[in-house]
């Protein structure tokens, strides 16, 4: 009994010394929180995951056919600014796909597309150095660096658009990227379906958020034909991107999500409403 007491005292002593030595402490966190209070405590900003986050989850299920997901496109159909912003997001997301496929030539081409499209949006100053870094890193097969630069491009352009009071274009860029990422991952899931893999489509709040962003856009932007199409697509996706009553997403839902996202991405690339 005495030994046991000594043992616990020693454990406590070691723990206390560790805390003092590292300066690291941990206050007890509540084991549960009342989710009904969440709306009042909520921070408005929503960060949309980069495609790499979703692809990383999928890759842990085994090797995937990323080569087969690359677009053979010049991305040269530039229309009105909302379409260009959506296209910019699509191209950056395509960059993430090219990195997954470790296709250096494709990554270089995407670096050049990104530069060209950023000029059309008037944000090339925020993009040039990152695009050049991507092209350089692709020569060294430095995939980690390329992923980082793709994320930086998104953030730089987002900040620049906010500065230019083009918030809705920043949001459309994010939506374009999310659509292209979802198209690629549903294509992979279609070919090699598993309920574990399909779990990554459980994104109800994210799709609500993207839809809500378009809803809040000025009439001038949300009246654009392409934006209307995207909004319709997001409305169709809303009931699909959530687990069913059995806690899973079935293959037919994955097929449907792929059809909607690929149709939208193709229309953005072709600049056809």
């Amino acid at each position: 009994m005495q030994n046991k007491t000594k043992f616990f005292l020693s454990v406590r002593l070691v723990a206390a010394i560790s805390v003092l030595a590292t300066g690291i402490a941990r206050a007890d966190a509540p084991a549960t929180i009342d989710v009904s209070n969440v709306p009042a405590q909520l921070v408005d900003d929503v960060v949309v995951p980069v495609p790499q986050e979703i692809f990383a989850s999928l890759d842990k299920l085994g090797n995937q056919d990323w080569d087969g997901q690359l677009k053979n496109n010049e991305f040269n159909q530039l229309g009105k600014r909302p379409q260009i912003a959506l296209l910019f997001g699509v191209v950056v997301a395509d960059g993430f796909v090219a990195v997954q496929a470790e296709d250096a030539a494709k990554v270089q081409a995407i670096g050049n597309h990104v530069l060209r499209i950023s000029r059309a949006l008037g944000v090339s100053n925020s993009v040039t150095s990152h695009a050049q870094s991507i092209i350089q890193a692709s020569k060294n097969n430095d995939w980690r660096r390329i992923r980082q630069e793709l994320d930086r491009i998104q953030e730089s352009v987002h900040q620049k658009m906010l500065e230019l009071r083009d918030e809705e274009l920043a949001q459309l860029m994010t939506i374009g990227g999310w659509l292209r990422g979802t198209e690629a991952l549903t294509s992979i899931l279609n070919k090699n379906f598993s309920t574990d893999g399909a779990d990554i489509l459980n994104q109800p709040d994210l799709v609500d958020h993207l839809d809500g962003q378009i809803r809040k856009m000025p009439l001038f932007t949300k009246g654009n034909g392409m934006v209307k199409n995207v909004r319709k697509g997001l409305s169709d996706l809303k009931p699909l991107l959530r687990n069913g009553s059995n806690g899973t997403i079935p293959k037919q839902t994955v097929d449907r999500v792929h059809l909607i996202t690929s149709t939208l991405v193709d229309s953005i690339i072709a600049n056809k409403d």
Partner: protein
Amino acid sequence: MKASQNLTFIQRGLAAVLAFCLVTSPAVAMTDDARSYAIEAAIPWLDLKKDPFSLRETWWSHDSKVKEPKIIKHQLFSRNEYWFWVACDNPDAKVSIHVYDEKGKLVDAEAFEKDHTAGVRVVPKKTGTYLIRVVVESSPEKKDNHWSVVYGFK
């Protein structure tokens, strides 16, 4: 002994370069101190030498009163591993960060609090929306404590 000293030196060098790149990148031109502190808090946990976490360029910033919980809703994906780091711009403040699932159950894998920073690691079992709860535990300022959250994943 010498090898471990060298390793520490290399790790510190890498960390300094990373911090410099992140803090000086154009996206961060309008950065705030809280974000810089959060990135500094992140560096020791990024596992730069082995299997590094990817630190996202985007971040959350907010002001809150002492003991006033703030919740960030965020999409997490199963099979990934995440770290979230928070820092207050006031070095005399104490802050905590924890992650809950959509039903309000704590899902931290590990967490720490150090000076005016804190971090939490999460390995979500299911893909979905999670709730990141930030609390300024104490501060000389009773209101308007500015904090930022950054995150990494692998």
